[in-house]
Amino acid sequence: MTTRKRPLSPHLSVYKGQISSVVSVMQRISGGGLAVGLGFFVYWLGAAAYGPETYATAQWFLTTWFGYLCLFGFSAAMYFHLCNGVRHLIWDIGYGFEIHQVNIGGILVLASTAGLTVLTWIFIFAKLGGAS
């Protein structure tokens, strides 16, 4: 059976970005990023399981600029996915469907992500600075 090539919806490009839609698509993107992060999680655990030498190699890699960049990205993605995931769970039990609640929730998620990520890295660098 041959079918005509018909346009597929949704035509995302014709819509103006809204907090609801942007946060929604970010949930998928951050989830995809975290799936990549699971590779790091497995590598780090495996390196530690093989012994001190392989663990030292993993620690060296994670503390290069590239390693820090990845860890920073994973931490931001993790906080975002976690906060927005809780927002989804609240919807699932039947609360927060009014437009203003959806908008406020989205802003709260973005603000919490930024705050938690910055706080975490301040704490990490303070701890690393204190140790050396």
Binding site: L38, A48, A49, G85
Partner: protein, 137 residues
């Protein structure tokens, strides 16, 4: 088993598959994926918070310190549960992403098979690693 008999139609029946299916109602299993995605998410909320706090407070720890930390039964249990729920959640959620965006039938089926084997492999390897770190000499 033919396609028609697989769906409960008697051999030789003149009834169409659509006529048979109509009016049967829901299978009652339509929300299964949705339910387990939420259940694993619910488990991961406290587990990831605990993991982040543990990781951040343990920054700069050497291999010996990690072994001591992992050898505590509570930490080991939560680490294994974390790995288990991480890969269970990824199994469902990455599967949904593949189903939504990969439209080539063979690539979609292959992708889902690779995803599921990868989740089982990585989940098992993580668990073995956690046990080795905590229990190994």
């Amino acid at each position: 088993m033919t396609f028609r008999s697989a769906y409960g139609l008697k051999p030789g029946s003149k009834r169409s598959a659509l006529g048979h299916a109509r009016g049967l109602g829901s299978t009652g299993r339509g929300t299964e994926h949705w339910y387990w995605e939420r259940l694993t998410a619910l488990a991961l909320v406290p587990l990831t918070l605990w993991a982040i706090v543990s990781l951040v407070t343990g920054v700069g720890a050497d291999h010996a310190a990690l072994k001591v930390w992992m050898s505590m039964p509570g930490n080991m249990t939560l680490m294994i549960l974390l790995a288990f729920f991480f890969f269970w959640h990824a199994w469902i959620a990455v599967g949904v992403v593949i189903e939504d965006y990969v439209h080539h039938e063979a690539a979609k089926t292959g992708g889902l098979i690779v995803l599921k084997f990868a989740c089982i492999l990585c989940g098992t390897f993580s668990t073995v690693s956690i046990l080795k770190i905590g229990l190994g000499g």
